[in-house]
């Protein structure tokens, strides 16, 4: 009985993950190569043949490429600040962590209040006399402004999660290492570069994987700010599933997102590989 107990305790969670995690992924893979009851790659060719596919794909990639590095830099800065603080640490930490609890849809709406035509950015611009008339910022003529708005909303919303992981990771680094670096005459920047960053690798790995995958899933922010004017992979998936009622093509989109996610996870694991003996 005691030997079986751990398995008994794990059984519900394992069953749950098999039924609602492993099985659906097998199913979606199956759906993506199935059309009218025959195995075919037509779903993929229809997906790739649609004029919006490459736009959606590259928009997603570009967003990730712009957003993630900014977030990494900001999260590192915020985490360093929080780690350094003596007074007000918990308050500032709470404030920095707030966006963690805010849904991507709400974040999109928050930035919509800034960027919409009668919004706060236009009010500021007119107030300062930069422009005479409120301008249509989120229109199809200015997709680059939509892009910037999405970047801002994403950076605003999802930096917190990286920060919290990095703060937790910095907390695991014993103080003596920094003090040793001080004794050997390292400057603040050298200390960060040569001591903190290398020792932070496991946390950086976690933070980056989580963040990059979330970036490929970007959806509600894009819809809230750009409607259909800036297609991304996830919004196209939603579109094919609902408006077009083409589950096979939607599944093909899902496989693309999945493939990109897994590829980047492996890439990050490789790039930030930490040998077992070198962990803190």
């Amino acid at each position: 009985m005691p030997r079986l107990l751990p398995y008994l305790l794990l059984l519900p969670a394992t069953a749950f993950l098999c039924l609602f995690f492993l099985f659906p992924f097998v199913q979606v893979a199956h759906d993506s190569v199935m059309r009218n009851g025959v195995y075919t790659l037509e779903n993929f060719s229809r997906m790739a043949g649609h004029w919006k596919f490459s736009t959606a794909f590259w928009n997603t990639m570009l967003l990730t490429a712009v957003v993630v590095p900014i977030q990494l830099a900001m999260a590192l800065t915020m985490a360093s600040i929080v780690t350094k603080l003596q007074r007000g640490r918990s308050t500032i930490l709470y404030i920095f962590a707030i966006p963690l609890g805010i849904s991507d849809l709400a974040a999109g709406l928050i930035w919509l209040s800034v960027f919409e035509q009668s919004g706060f950015l236009n009010s500021l611009l007119v107030g300062l006399g930069v422009v005479d008339q409120p301008i249509l910022l989120l229109g199809y003529q200015n997709t680059w402004i939509i892009f910037i708005a999405i970047v801002l909303a994403e950076v605003w919303r999802a930096t917190a999660i990286m920060m919290v992981i990095l703060v937790a990771g910095m907390g695991l680094i014993p103080k003596e290492y920094g003090e040793a670096a001080d004794v050997f005459g390292a400057s603040r920047w050298q200390k960060f570069r040569r001591v903190t960053l290398p020792m932070l690798r496991p946390s950086l790995q976690t933070a980056l994987i989580l963040r990059v995958i979330l970036a490929f899933e970007v959806f509600a922010v894009v819809v809230a700010l750009g409607g259909t004017q800036l297609p991304v992979l996830m919004s196209e998936t939603y579109h094919w599933q609902f408006q077009m009622q083409e589950r096979g093509v939607a599944a093909a989109f899902a496989m693309v997102i999945l493939a990109v996610s897994v590829a980047f996870t492996i890439l990050i694991l490789r790039l930030l590989h930490v040998p077992k003996g070198a962990r803190v």
Partner: protein
């Protein structure tokens, strides 16, 4: 410049940086609430004031809008079921991981950690079909099951770290003092882990409360608030959007405040 004045200048830059970052986080939320707490005419008007007029017309318009109360209530119900399911299923697994060494332990941990490398909302696509077959389509339970899949890995990892933080010695002491396993768990482990379990329950609630994609895919009649807002984005007027956004954000502020102490327990363990 002398060394102390350099340091003072550095300090000033540091304080300014902190202030700027705080502003960066708080200002956008403030602006959303300015909109939510102004009259509809002010929301669509121009130019905008940066202080709310505390006119509740936008909010009452939002809450009076057909379907909103139902959506709100659905959101609460789905999140509550998600909370119960993910703790009920996740906590025993977390306890098993923290207290036992057994063959297959690493495999299970791998399964849990692997969920993080997959875009989970996509699960909604195949599950939509499975739910139609089993009659779970467009139900609170069906969506809650998907949200539990999102929340379960967190629940397992958080409770794992929680239980690991309670010395095994305490449990053993209870056994030598006359408890069986279940009694020791109820009398010793549960009281000590309760605040942390509550925090991870809140976290599960937030995950469900905020989720958009699966909610939008899986619900038609019984939409949650996020699904409702998403599907009416292109037709609903601005005051409705902003009031809805505020309704989404406000509970989140409290939730994060409630679990702030446990954020690191959650992510500290996620590093390993």
């Amino acid at each position: 410049m002398s060394a102390p004045s350099v340091r003072r200048a550095g300090n000033r830059v540091f304080v300014a940086g902190v202030a700027l970052l705080i502003l960066w986080v708080l200002l956008p939320i403030w602006l959303l609430f300015v909109n939510a707490l102004s009259a509809p005419a002010e929301v669509t008007g121009f130019p905008k004031r940066f202080i709310p007029s505390f006119d509740l017309a936008s909010l009452s318009f939002f809450f009076g809008f057909s379907g909103v109360i139902d959506a709100l209530w659905n959101s609460v119900r789905v999140a509550a079921v998600t909370m119960v399911l993910s703790i009920g299923v996740g906590a025993p697994a977390g306890y098993a991981l923290s207290r036992f060494d057994f063959p297959g332990k690493e495999l299970f941990r791998f399964l849990v950690v692997m969920t993080r490398a997959f875009p989970l909302p996509l699960l909604a696509l195949p599950l939509a079909v499975m739910f139609i077959r089993t009659g779970l389509d467009d139900t609170i339970l069906g969506l809650a099951l998907v949200h539990t899949t999102l929340a379960l890995p967190f629940a397992v990892l958080i409770t794992y770290s929680l239980f690991s933080g309670i010395p095994l010695e305490l449990e053993e002491a209870a056994w030598t003092l006359g408890c069986n396993r279940v009694q020791a768990f109820i009398k010793v482990i549960l009281p000590l882990a309760a605040p942390g379990i509550a925090a991870s329950a809140v976290f599960a609630f937030v995950i469900s409360w905020n989720e958009v994609f699966a909610a939008a895919v899986l619900t038609v009649e019984n939409r949650t608030l996020t699904a409702f807002l998403l599907q009416s984005l292109d037709v609903s007027p601005l005051p409705l959007k902003f009031a809805g956004g505020a309704a989404l954000v406000l509970p989140a502020l409290f939730f994060i405040f409630a679990v702030r102490k446990y954020l690191f327990a959650m992510w500290g363990i996620a590093n390993r």
